[in-house]
């Protein structure tokens, strides 16, 4: 085969095409101009011009999370790369597959403190799953293909490739993805069968079992979610999930207990506390979930399925660790369950469900329904009703509204819910919504937002307008950084240090200044009308300002350092002894 010479920039574009990329989110600058020139001369890959590089990464996350594909980002050197860092770490924490290309100063200037030079691979090393600096144009194609493989294989994550400008100009040889095999990286996908068999025996003999599932099921693809649903139904066990795992099991099923953890439901947390067998599939025993470690599910045997061996026995020691892809493990579990003709202990299960139904009857998500002021929970309940049966995706920012959205919006399918779980990045939701909307132009995409988070990346309204992405920004405006205020109320004597949202813009006028639709609801009666109008807008973004009760707090809540059975239900629970001294230092 005659060797075909391409420039580095052309190699980048060809590799992206061969990897099936159709959209790349980015922002140009001096060190990536050759790649932007190559983008200009083709039509297969659509470039989405964001307004800030952090948003490019979040948009790619929204795209990746809602499609199951690898998201793609292009930024320039120096500030372009450093602006992307928050997004990269966000993707690392939530295991979102991304490839981020950054420009770099020419190789002969590296290390000379050149204009817009940063040690990008050094800075992003702990913020990526892996990263590369390509100094030889003939290694560029191989590196690109490797990066996509690493990003999507095993526990997915962001991979960065730093490409000096001279490498983008240089002529080199292209090789297709089929000719690239990674030297070392072979994550274990298939589980050890003996372990799965052990797990099945434990599951079959459980008296008070619970499934505790996480983002790993979503990452394993829609088939894994189907298998999970099948297995949970086969067993008849209750199931709860982390924030990242919502949607993997349908929320409309009766076996669903709601989310667990700090702001999880009473029934989910008490079922975790009292269970005798815990089946963790694709969750990582995060501190938001476990609460006080020494009192985490104290009487239980634990099965932990995870594709990342370093997740196992990291925070919580487990009895049966299973390394493998959630889908592959579930497939084996179902097969062995059926082959061995297993059936759950029906009498024990009946008693267990009786106990759970008692906790459910506590109705922990109840709130003070009033006509006097819009409760944020009410606004979300109305949004839920309006979205029911419609093809929709939801993203969130970070804070109280995020937890309320997780509590009040039900998801029956995976990949429909996008939120910054691990890193907790305010400003995630709007760009992620844009990414999801561009991937699903005909769907309704709502960013459930708070007024403070929205301000962190509101420049992206410009991006949404430019590409006619009709995202809906549903702001629960309580004029506070609500979660900060809630913690100050519970832990710092109601001294609201710097948590008031001073000098807010008029969100309706703000929307109009961009040519978007702006709506506002200040009374309970207006909420439905505003939601209806919002959903009717299909050709441009819509910003909705819902003036909610500024004093409402998010409950239930397990204060930091407390166990699952020490849950606060609402303002009537005394906050004074809510948190022990050692819990105060926890975030």
């Amino acid at each position: 085969m005659p060797e075909q010479k391409l420039t580095g920039a052309q190699i980048v574009i060809k590799a992206l095409k061969d990897q099936g990329v159709d959209i790349i989110f980015g922002y140009p600058g001096g060190a990536v101009l050759p790649i932007y020139d190559a983008i200009f001369q083709q039509n297969d890959i659509k470039h989405i011009l964001v307004r800030h590089e952090q948003a490019a990464v979040h948009a790619a996350e929204g795209y990746a999370r809602s499609t199951g594909k690898v998201g793609c980002v292009l930024v320039t050197s120096g500030p372009g790369a450093t602006n992307a860092v928050t997004g990269l770490l966000d993707a690392l924490c939530d295991s979102i597959p991304l490839v981020c290309l950054s420009g770099q100063v020419p190789t002969h200037l590296i290390g000379n403190d050149a204009f817009q030079e940063a040690d990008t691979t050094g800075i992003t090393r702990p913020c990526t799953k892996h990263n590369y600096l390509v100094k030889d144009v003939n290694q560029l194609a191989r590196t690109m293909h490797e990066a996509f493989y690493v990003a999507r294989s095993g526990r997915p994550g962001p991979v960065l490739i730093d490409i000096p400008k001279d490498v983008q100009f240089a002529d080199g040889t292209y090789i297709p993805p089929t000719e690239v095999k990674h030297k070392t990286y072979r994550p274990q996908v298939k589980p050890e069968i003996a372990r799965v068999e052990e797990a099945i025996e434990l599951i079959a003999n459980a008296k008070r079992p619970i499934f505790y599932t996480g983002g790993g099921v979503v990452n394993a693809g829609p088939i894994a979610a189907k298998l999970l649903t099948q297995f949970v139904k086969l067993t008849g066990f209750p199931i709860t999930s982390t924030l990242m795992g919502l949607g993997a099991f349908p929320a409309s099923e009766t076996q669903w207990l709601g989310m667990l953890g700090m702001h999880g439901t009473y029934e989910a947390n008490l079922a975790m506390y009292n269970c005798d067998v815990m089946i963790n599939i694709g969750a990582r025993f995060d501190d938001r979930v476990t609460g006080k470690l020494s009192e985490f599910a104290p009487g239980s045997k634990k099965i932990h399925v995870d594709i990342d061996p370093s997740s196992i026995n990291k925070n919580v020691a487990v009895d049966i660790p299973i390394v493998g892809d959630a889908g592959a493990v579930l497939e084996d579990m179902i097969r062995i369950w059926k082959a061995r003709q297993k059936r759950a202990d029906q009498a024990a299960l009946k008693e267990w469900w009786g106990q759970i139904d008692g906790w459910r009857a506590r109705n922990c998500l109840n709130y003070n329904r009033t006509e006097a002021v819009i409760k944020p929970q009410y606004a979300l309940e109305r949004l839920r009703e309006a979205l029911r049966g419609k093809n929709h995706y939801v993203t969130t920012e970070v804070g109280q509204h995020q937890m309320w959205a997780a509590q009040f919006l039900p998801f029956d399918e995976p990949n429909r819910w996008m939120t910054s779980g691990g890193l907790g990045t305010m400003g995630y939701g709007l760009p992620a919504a844009i990414g999801a909307q561009l991937a699903h132009p005909d769907a309704i995409v709502v960013d459930v937002s708070g007024e403070a988070s929205f301000l962190m990346n509101m420049q992206e309204i410009g991006t949404a307008v430019q590409y006619r992405a009709p995202v809906k920004i549903f702001i629960l405006n309580n004029k506070y950084m609500g979660m900060v205020r809630q913690w100050q109320e519970l832990l710092h004597g109601s001294r609201y240090s710097n948590s008031y949202s001073e000098a807010l813009p008029d969100f309706v006028k703000l929307a109009e200044s961009w040519g978007c639709v702006g709506l506002r609801a200040t009374t309970v009666a207006e909420v439905d009308e505003v939601i209806e109008k919002m959903l009717a807008v299909t050709d441009r973004p819509c910003i909705v300002d819902i003036a909610v009760d500024p004093k409402e707090n998010c409950f239930p809540m397990i204060p930091g350092g407390k166990a699952h059975n020490e849950i606060l239900f609402g303002p009537e629970d005394s906050p004074s002894d809510a948190t022990p001294e050692d819990g105060m230092v926890l975030v």
Binding site: T121, G122, R125, P126, K183, T184, P309, S310, N313, A317
Partner: protein, 168 residues
Amino acid sequence: MEDKIEKHTIAVLVDNEPGVLARVIGLFSGRGYNIESLTVAEVNNADHLSRITLVTSGTRMVVEQIKAQLDRLVPVHKVHDLTDEGPSVERELALVKVAGTGDRRIEALRLADIFKAKVVDATLTSFVFELTGTTAEVDDFVGLMAQLGLVEASRTGVVAMSKGAAGF
């Protein structure tokens, strides 16, 4: 959980590529693990493989985490816990400079002989000894030299290998 602190010697085979050592060290500093010593050099020129030997300490759970986290790094081929996997030999090399004259000089030379240290540099007022041995032996030798005019010591840290025919 057992909270006893254990000391482990871990051997890691990695691609000899830029940044790989930074990844390993960054992992230890970022996650708050201990490094007591770390040595690295290329061991296979054709395949560009380097072998890192590191000595670390922590509870059993932390040591298991360290190994899992090392194994998770993309350029890492293999991770072996030599402490766990049966008998192994551990050695370090030290260069020890001692200055002095008269009895002290003679005593230093005599001790070097007992420790089977080699003289690799000599002047009328100084020696540089080369010593290979276990960490404890090197500690002992350096400790004795401290009383006989020790100027400086340079140590490689531990390199280690499992006993028997089986390879890495």
